[in-house]
Structures are given as structure tokens and as C-alpha cells.
Amino acid sequence: MNYHECLAWIASRWTDELVVTSAGTSSEIWYEETGDTERVFYLEASMSLSTCFAAGIAFGTPNQNVWAFSGDGAFVMNAGMLTVERQMNLPNLKHFMVSNRVYGSTSNVPLPGRADNDYAAIARGFGIERVYSFGGMNELQAKFEEAVMEPGYSFIHLEVDPLDYRGGSPPMDGPEVKFRFGRHVEKVTGKNVFTAPLPEVKR
């Protein structure tokens, strides 16, 4: 699959889910496609931690669906994260693992085991029941409803081609990303994320 086309199509199916993107390409493409600055945490400093981060969000917001993006670069660094995700088995968390067999955000440096790594098999080996693996847009589109929209934790492997993409980071510093996302969570959940709740503005 073409990486950009794949993410753009998933973004077209996005409604009210909270989204966590990871370092480099997924953050850049998601921002380019959506321009969103409220419902997305662009975790560009992630290096294998984006889905653990998303699991923390999903744990505390059980009525919100959370889409988490990681890459196979993250996967080879921290495949054990799936043991935690399996154990937590959060019904509102979907883990999209975008595999292009390179460290995409660092000039497509090749990954260890790039020819042999079978990510879906590894996920199944950790006991994850809902594992999906898509290598083409037609398969993704045909099974998206089942893999992503139905309740239950799922691990979704997206096999894409390496991309020479230089879209640039979303134009926000870290604290702005935090406050925009956190205030959105406060608004939709009624929970206090920050010490001082933002008062209602009366017009």
C-alpha cells in the first residue's frame, strides 16, 4: 500500500476517536490530512512508546475510542509492549502498526529483520485475538469496519511502501499539544485533566 493513501483513507473514516500518532511520518501525514489540533496527540518524541501512551489515555476514558499509531521501527524496539496491551485488553483501543521495513523518520534506514519480521504472527504469539494484517487498500477497506469500528482491542498491521515524505511537524510546541488535547478530553469526558479546570465562557 501507499503509506500516504492508506493514512489519508483511515483519516477519512475518522469521527470522534482520540488519536495518538507517533514519531515522524504518521504525525506529519495525519496533520496534513486533518489539520486537527484538538483530538490528536502528536507524540513525535515517541520512539516505541506511542501505544503505551495511548493505552493510558484509553484506560482513563473508557467511553472514548482511541486510535494509536506506531511503526515497525517502534515495534522492533519494544515488541513487548504488546504483552501489556494484551493484558490490559482495553476494548476502546485500536493499535495501527504501520510497517514499511525502514526507520521512516530517519531517512528510511533499514530495520533489523526487515525481510523476515512477521508482526501479525508475533502479535498472535502474545495471545492477541483480534489481529488484522492488510497489504492492500481493498483488503483494508473491506475489513475496516470489523477491525476498527467494532468494540474490542485490536492490533492492525498495515504493510506499506517506504515513503520519501517531508511534510514537516504539526506547528505546535509540546505544551500546546498537551493543553489542546487535554482540554478536549476534559470537554468530552467531564473529567479534570489539569489542576485548574477551564471555566465556561459566558457570552
Partner: protein, 187 residues
Amino acid sequence: MESLHEASTSSAARASETGYSEDVSREIVDICADAGISLVASLPDDWIAQTIARFEQDDRFTHVPMNREESAIGLCSGAFLSGTGSVALMGASGLMTLVYAITKINYTYEIPVFIMITRRGSFDDGAKFHVSNGLYLDDVVNAINLPCTVIGSRAELPMIAEAYHHSRKISRPTVAVLPKKLLQGKI
């Protein structure tokens, strides 16, 4: 295979046999609950096996055994953004692996995280493989300007709650350090 609860009970019994205080662990757990913590992400160290078991068996908490320390920081950082109070509990060696996660995630985005660690490598630590913690832990903590407090006695256990709340106040991680003799109920 025994359940997680059963395995936790066995671990706690072993920790008691090796001299770690159930009472102190209960006090730590109560203080965390009162502070507003409900999610515990843990990595093992035999000094805190008793405490990990107490968290596991207490309905006020969701305890998540983690695969590595950085994952615990990821989970707890995300939990903050869902309005959930959490603690990452680990050995001193675990903190030594966290420079990347803390400086990139927590410092970049100014996300508070509360971390409790053991004071491995202290003079009363018999394990030679923890000597490096005694030599370098304080310097690593200072190098990344990580606010840190050593809980010197049972009377000081309420400082755990202070350290947790301080993290929220300054939007950075804070660390509470648990010495061996404290966890054994000797100080």
C-alpha cells in the same frame, strides 16, 4: 497456571520471608490511594515485591505489570491526559533506563509523572550488581534536574503524597525513593 492474584500472594509471602514489611507496604498503598492514584504500573525489584503485591490485591487500584520501565512512563503519561492519577513503581535500575522517556516525553510536552523507586546500591544493599546505582543514581537524577525525595523513615511516608502532588504542580516528573530499611520496617 495460577492466577495473577495467586501469583501475587506467593510473591508477597516470599517477600515477607525475606524481611520486607507488609505494614509499611500497606501504608504506602493507603497513602497513594488517598493522594488520588488509581493506576499503578510496576516493574519488579525484590525490595518492592511486597508493595507490588499490595497494589495488585487492592481494589482501589488497577495494577499493570509492565514489560519495561519506559513503557510504564508511556502508560502513566497517557493516563495523566485521561485525568487518571498514576504511579510508575520500579527499582533504581529502572530509573537509570528512563533518561530518554523522561526528557523526550515528559519534558517536551510538560507531562507530570510520579515515579517511586528503590534506593538500590546503598551501603545496606548486599547485591554487587547494584553498586552502579549507588555510584551514579544521584548524578543521573541531578543531570536531568529530576525533583527527588528520599523517604527516610515511616514518619516521612506522607511525603509520597507530596511528591505526587508536586509533580502535578510543576508539570514534570518527580521521584520518591524508598530505602531498604524503610521497606523492611526498620526505620
